[in-house]
Subunit: 202 residues, 2 copies
Amino acid sequence: MENSTSEPQPLLALVDALKRLPGVGVRTARRMAYHLLQHDLQAAQQLGQALTNAVERLQHCEQCNGFTEVPICATCLHPERDKTLLCIVETPADQNSIEATHGYTGLYYVLMGRLAPLEGTGPDELDFDRVLARAADGIVQEVILATNFTAEGETTAHYLSEALRTRGIKVTRLARGVPAGSEIEYVDAGTVAWALMERKPT
Amino acid sequence: MENSTSEPQPLLALVDALKRLPGVGVRTARRMAYHLLQHDLQAAQQLGQALTNAVERLQHCEQCNGFTEVPICATCLHPERDKTLLCIVETPADQNSIEATHGYTGLYYVLMGRLAPLEGTGPDELDFDRVLARAADGIVQEVILATNFTAEGETTAHYLSEALRTRGIKVTRLARGVPAGSEIEYVDAGTVAWALMERKPT
């Protein structure tokens, strides 16, 4: 009785498409498909339209490489932002985190990734020539490297730091240390070691 | 500088739509959106089309309530299936699990849910009248309750069992016991207790 209960093709196609989302395996994809079709048809339609819309309308900002609907995004065009500061982040999510501090008024460059040689992401994939050209526009005075403090983020920061320094651009990195509000007893040893090394006079 | 880095509307709409998937919060939705737009535009298009397609083309089988492209699904129409057996499952995924045993040749009824009074899912939401009518077609000799062995699945099975029995239909439930290939030492006490109570002569 082979194929007697094979599922209808549109359902299989939907499961296949959902499986391509990061972190979604076949079981989760099935659960999502059943949920959408059984309990939330409206969400299925909404998601379908949002995807088509986003693919058609979003592009990368010519200056900061972030997502935008226009050639140059609102952040890059904002008249009150400090054009002498350029903060390099891995993703738009990181940019949001820095914006949320309300303590940074400079501009951004979004790498849309980090160096990961084992996954085939090298300086060319991230278009480092474009990053360096952006930083060497003659207006930027300082580049703040705000890539993650993971092995890959550190590698990316190191690589960019070297390349920018040889071009005579001032480069800084986000400070490492004990997180705000944390108890030293519960902070991991690596962080405490950094905080000790980079201790500041009060 | 309010709104200076507000993200473009199509991106926000996509994140909102992804958030409606089960088990997806705002952070995961953002990660999915960035991934699709940055690394897998093709997947975004594919998913968009699959969703539209599925919403337009899938319907519920008139007999078993499963998803199908035609009024009555291939399983219900299959000439070699035993029409005297009706297996009631919660979801199409459960049906797939039973099909995968290659040991069941009867028909199915898919509830597309289970009784969950706290979530507002009662006998009316699951259309129990239709289930009972299906089971009382005069051809079905035995109804196998294959709802999950969770509190809600057990409640659903109990409710259906009572309703079917008063209509004079034979009702059985999947056996509970120690899973195949498992070591008793590592099986939870509840399962061992069931296995003891329902022990079989060899």
